[in-house]
Every structure is written in structure tokens, then in C-alpha cells.
Symmetry: C2
Subunit: 418 residues, 2 copies
């Protein structure tokens, strides 16, 4: 599929993240005003609340865009999703009849503040990238026992904390926590010294379910994708995670990119999960290409320094698709809701410069990264800004995600000092 | 504190769960009508929406009880909580001036259907009962390694699934899942055969927070308590829980009792956590009696059979209070919201007939329980109804919780059969 041309000419650049082929959904405000739903097109945002009020977009008898989040729309299901995308394509394409009506509804993106695009109902994080699981397993359990026995049979996941999910740009404060390092006789209360990123994609559930669903149904239920950085306090995690999994180490913040890239926009970039080392049982069986070819990167910018790329990888490196993760999530009868967010798990490639966490890049701190300035990093330092980017590259166009960025600020003074 | 007498005479029985001293908050409907907030008094429910409309209860300029859940009220904080309790006590006490105005606002409980009393924002389950952790640890890791190294230093918890929390009376369907027993060469897809209960208390967060809070602040933020049964699929859990904790094994359902018993009602029953084997760090330090003396029991009724008690225990058996759990939950900066539900963890006593799960009662199935009928149970069978009860016993009165009950129905036909 080639570039679809828009009368919003900035959208027609082959490298612009938001061409007419994309149409990602977000929530924005201008001048400190009320947040409202919008769709990105080139360097502009189409104000959907205004478009609905003006009668330019109308999906039914009820207004859809009165609330500043996409949950209600997502819950409507694939037919309504397709209807909006069709309508927006008609309105924004080159030569559109309604161009004059739509022009006043556009806001320059540079004047807008972006907010959380949806209310996170619940947040689940998976551990479904094989290179990452192998790297981490090798560090902690040795190469022989790198993958847990269940890993090739089910997408391992745990429930995260929805209240801690924040939109790109939100500063992230270094947490305190209880830690016990290898040299500590007893646990200590201390600021995290092994604060880390996890480069992930987040899949957003649109259609609710209340019973076990198939992988194909799960794929149909997914509304779209965002970039996701699951900030992780490795020292807190090491002390707390046995036997019931990560808890406070993952609850400081999880950042997501501000634009929901729809499944429809990603359709041309579908690709298959890798060959299976062991056959999956029926409830997880592959039934079509459900990963996507999306180039991903993570960069670091020290306070006042220059930004540099730490790693590049691709979403197709996952072992399990989001559809398989969602299907697995429903096996127990667990009800799923519009706005549920599923983190893919850290996405690393097979090579050293393709690793999606500092834990892997510095091999647990044993092999620190050297930055261009000569400074080194084992984990994140105060003032560092970490940024994820993602792009699927089509024939003369790009499907971008917008940045997922966050600056780490110093820990609070000890909140329990007496 | 003695019994406070009410003109609703059924409330004055020393064994009635809902005397004037209690005033628990719930949500009810009658005749299939709209759900609304109410308070239990003896065998009656005072309709708070009607009371507000009639001007008998008025807490501010805005109506509080237009929505069928208690979240907005909980968020108001301790001064408003106290104001409502004072007003209800005045209205319902023996000799109340307004008795004639209040009488028409009462609904017989027997005519009412009870609903979820609040929207569960997020659900966290802890593992903070020492007898339970010791029993389970002994079964799985041997007596020498029963408690994990971190257990005496932090309340171990994991995020559960809010969407699966249901009100007492809701039937619970036996889940399917991926399992791999000791005799299985490869994992299988099968209905759970080790379906279990966990006898717990649930603490409900009222006051939101966005930074680390102290144990005393956490106690102040808690609105009230419910009984909680965290249904658990032990065979699914055994296969999935390493390395990131329980996931689908805990996502079928968690049942709660329908009435929120407020912290105010439980005030006379405060008691201390047990002596500490190792001193807790400052952020978890005990600073007053924050457990409660609440008798708990679990009973089983086979389909068509007689109900019998399986175990009796007490909430004071916990090692960590809900306030300590909530304080720990905030250490990373994790935002907490009104309606967050914290499960205490299974509450077992030191003796065999005080164990709060079938896993412990049947010692992993090795020592099945024999019922009065002669039938045995290692785990739950289809048609079994499991019921938790709880009561704090005062001077001539009882603070009851109402039942937390659920009947287990057979697994669906294989949802993935081809």
C-alpha cells in the first residue's frame, strides 16, 4: 500500500510519523483548556469534539467525543472503528470535498499539550520476548536454566498497577524502597540505585470479554498499540519478587506514547511469530501473522548532554503476539475490559546493541555502557531522559508512534525520616 | 462500649450482625429496580438515596448518593465519614426525633438484592499471614525454608485482577487452564482439579495518595473492611507462578461480602500485631494497634447436603496489618485511589482446624478432610458452596460482616475444542 495523500501537506512526507495512512488517536488540550479527543494528521490535530459538534463527524445518534478519553469509542467494536477511520480518510484526503469545513477544526500540534489517550482499566505486563528472557535468565540462573520450564508453553505475565501509567513527557521520580544487596547482612531502606527502563509495546483491549477467547478473537478485540516503557527498580525487584512476583519495583511509573496507533494502520506490517521450539497447545496456537514489523529504539540524554541511541530492535522479535497474550489472559474466565493495557515484555534482539533494558545492555552493571561524552552508565542517573521511538516503514510512508519519553528526577528526601 | 439501642428493634439483639454500633454500607435494589446506596440496621436497609432526597440526610450542598457505589463518598475523607455516621446514629437511635420521617425510607433486607458496594479501582492481594505462609512454604520448600528471606521484612503482595472481584452470592465457574502435574511429561489444557478458597479480610482504601505514606497515615486512609475469598486454582498456579507470580490461577473470581464495615465500627476491637521476630524498618514500623479481633470461619455445603464448618480463625492472627500493607504499597510512589482493595492474605491460626484454605486443611491433598456425610474433600467439588463469616463480639452486641458465599459450578465445555 502506497502513501495516501492528504491536503494537510505536512502529512505527505515519507518520513513524517502521521500520514493519512496512520490517523492515530489521542487526547490534547490547548492554552490550558479542556482536554478533548483528537486525531493526528501531519503537524496538525483534528479536534474530534469540535468535528462532532460541527456535524462533520457523526457515528450514530449519540455524541462519541464528549469525554477526554477513547474508552467509550473503543468499546463500540470493529464496525464503528472502521466507520470512523473511513470518515476521517474521506475528510482528510487530497481533494476532499469538505476541506473548507475541516480546516477550522485543525490545531497545530506544536500548540497542543498531549494527555493520556485513554483511561487504563487494568494493566498487565508480560515477559514474552525470548532474547530478553534468555539474557535475564542467564544472568540470574545461568545459561543452562535461562528459560523457566513454562516459558515456551505460556506467555508469562503478571498484573501491574494501572494507577502508575503516565503519558510520555511525565517526569519520573526515582523511588525509595526496601533493598538487600549481596553485601547487605540485613535489608535497608534506600533510594533505588539500579533504576532501569524496559522497551515494550503496549496493546490496548477494545472489545470486552467475559469468557475464554481464541487467539483470533483476541486479535479482533485489540484496538491499537502504543510504545511502553515499564520503569523498573532492579534492586527493589531482586529483594521482593520471590515468591509472588514484582510489586513495588514496577509501581513507580509506566510511560506510554500519547498516540494510539490503530490495528488498521498497522495492517500492512503484520508478520509471524518465530518458529516454535515446542508446539503450543490449542488455546495459544498461532493462526495468522499477529506480530508487526515495527522498528524500535531507545535513547538516553544526560542532563544538559546530547541524546544518543542505546539500542535498536524490532517488535517482530517477540515470541508471543499480543493476541496470544490476551487469549491467555482470558483462559481462567478473567473478564477483560476496554482500556486494558497489555505490555509486551521487554523487546530485545539477538545482538548486544539490540537490548531493550540497561540491565541487559550493562549485563547487570558488570559491563557499563560508555556514552559519547565518555561518561558511563550501568543504570539510569538522575537527570537522564530516556526516550523510546517506534516506526513501521511502508512504501513511501512511515507509521510513527510519537515519542515515549521521561526524565528521571532525584529521589525525594527520605519520606520516613524522623 | 455497650450496645447502642435503636428503634429498629431487630438491631438490638446481642447476636444480630447489624446493630446501631455497626452501620455497614452497601448497595441494594428491590424488585429489579435501580441499585442504590444503603446502610444496614437490624433486618432493614435505610435507603440513602431516598434519605438524601427527603432531606433527612444532607452532608453538603451536592448530593452524595446518586450513584450506586460508595467510591465518591469514601474519597471525601474522615471528616465526612464521621459526619454521616453521626447523622445515621442520631436518626436511628432509640427515641430519635425523626423516627417517623425515617420509617418510610426503610426496606426489609429480605426483599433486597445486594450488589457490589463499591467499584474496585485496583485489587492487591497479600501473603501476610504467618501460619499460612509457613504451612504453604513447608509443603513446597520444606520446614527449613518455609518463609522466604524477605517475609519477615516486608508484606509480600502482588497485584490481582479488579475485574474479577464479585459480590457474595455470585456463582463461580471452575476454570480451565494450562497445567503440568508431577506425572505429566508435557503441559495439558484441562479444567482445574485443585480449586481452592482463601479466607481473607479485604481493606478498602478511602483517601487517595500519590506519595509514600506512613503506617499511621495509611490507617487513617482506610475506609473499611469486608470478608474476601480469593478463589485459587492451585494446579494452574503451580505451573505458572515462577518467576513472576500468580496470574490466571487467581483471575477467575474473588468474592467479597456485600457490606463495608467501617473502621469506626471496628474501633473497639483494635489489637496489636504479634511480637516481631526481626525489627521492622521505619517505613513499616508498628505504631499502634491496627489489627482487629474478628472471629472468622469458613464452611462448606455440598450440593443438596448440610453446611459444616471447616475452620475457625481470627483476623488478629495476621503478621502485618492492612495499614502496614498500604504503607508498603505506597513506598515506590505508587498512586493509591478510593476503591483500591487490599486482600490480607490467607488467615490461618496455629492449629489444624484454624486453616483458611483447603490446600492447608488437606495438606496439599495428602490428608483429605472427611465431611459429616462421610464424603471427603481435598479441594472444592462442583456444586459445593463455600461461605465465609466474620464477627467482632462486643459487650452485648456483635459487629457482623454478612456472608461471603459462592457456589462452584462445573467448568464450561472446552472453549477451545475444534
Amino acid at each position: 500500500m502506497p502513501l495516501k495523500k492528504s491536503w494537510v501537506t505536512s502529512a505527505n512526507d515519507a518520513h513524517h510519523p502521521f500520514p493519512l495512512n496512520n490517523l492515530p488517536y489521542g487526547v490534547f488540550s490547548t492554552g490550558g483548556g479542556r482536554a478533548r479527543c483528537g486525531v493526528a494528521i501531519g503537524d496538525m490535530i483534528l479536534d474530534l469534539q469540535a468535528a462532532e459538534e460541527a456535524g462533520v463527524v457523526r457515528l450514530g445518534t449519540e455524541p462519541f467525543f464528549e469525554m477526554p478519553f477513547w474508552n467509550e469509542f473503543m468499546e463500540e467494536g470493529p464496525a464503528v472503528w472502521a466507520a470512523l477511520r473511513d470518515r476521517l480518510t474521506t475528510l482528510l484526503q487530497d481533494g476532499a470535498q469538505d476541506q473548507k469545513k475541516v480546516e477550522p477544526l485543525l490545531v497545530p500540534t506544536k500548540d497542543a499539550e498531549l494527555h493520556m489517550p485513554f483511561m487504563v482499566s487494568e494493566y498487565t505486563d508480560f515477559y514474552a520476548g525470548r532474547h530478553h528472557a534468555t539474557n535475564v535468565g542467564t544472568m540470574f540462573r545461568g545459561a543452562e536454566n535461562a528459560l523457566p520450564p513454562n516459558w515456551l508453553h505460556i506467555p508469562i505475565g503478571y498484573n501491574g498497577r494501572a494507577s502508575s501509567v503516565v503519558v510520555s513527557g511525565t517526569e519520573v521520580r526515582r523511588p525509595w524502597g526496601q533493598v538487600r544487596g549481596p553485601d547487605d547482612e540485613t535489608p535497608r531502606w534506600a533510594p533505588c540505585t539500579r533504576f532501569d527502563i524496559e522497551l515494550e509495546m503496549g496493546a490496548i483491549v477494545g472489545t470486552p470479554s467475559e469468557r475464554p477467547i481464541t487467539v483470533q478473537e483476541a486479535d479482533d478485540h485489540i484496538f491499537g498499540y502504543v510504545l511502553l516503557n515499564d520503569w523498573s527498580a532492579r534492586d527493589i525487584q531482586a529483594w521482593e519478587y520471590q515468591p509472588l512476583g514484582p510489586f513495588q519495583s514496577k509501581a513507580t511509573a509506566t510511560s506510554i506514547s500519547p498516540w494510539i496507533v490503530t490495528k488498521a494502520a498497522l495492517e500492512p506490517f503484520r508478520c509471524s511469530t518465530p518458529a516454535r521450539e515446542v508446539e503450543l497447545l490449542d488455546h495459544l496456537e498461532d493462526c495468522g501473522p499477529m506480530l508487526y514489523d515495527i522498528d524500535l529504539s531507545v535513547s538516553l540524554r544526560p542532563d544538559g548532554g546530547a541524546e544518543e541511541t542505546l539500542a535498536r530492535t524490532n517488535y517482530r522479535e517477540m515470541y508471543y503476539s499480543a493476541a496470544q497474550q490476551l487469549a491467555h489472559h482470558t483462559t481462567s474466565g478473567c473478564p477483560m475490559n476496554a482500556g486494558d493495557l497489555l505490555g509486551s515484555g521487554t523487546i530485545s534482539g539477538p545482538n548486544k546493541n539490540e537490548r531493550g533494558s540497561l540491565l541487559e545492555l550493562s549485563w547487570g552493571g558488570k559491563d557499563p555502557i560508555t556514552l559519547a561524552s565518555g561518561a558511563t552508565r550501568s543504570f539510569i542517573e538522575d537527570g537522564d531522559t530516556l526516550t523510546l521511538t517506534g516506526a513501521a516503514r511502508g512504501d513511501g510512508y512511515t507509521i510513527g508512534f510519537g515519542e515515549c519519553t521521561g526524565k528521571v528526577t532525584p529521589a525525594l528526601a527520605d519520606p520516613y525520616a524522623r
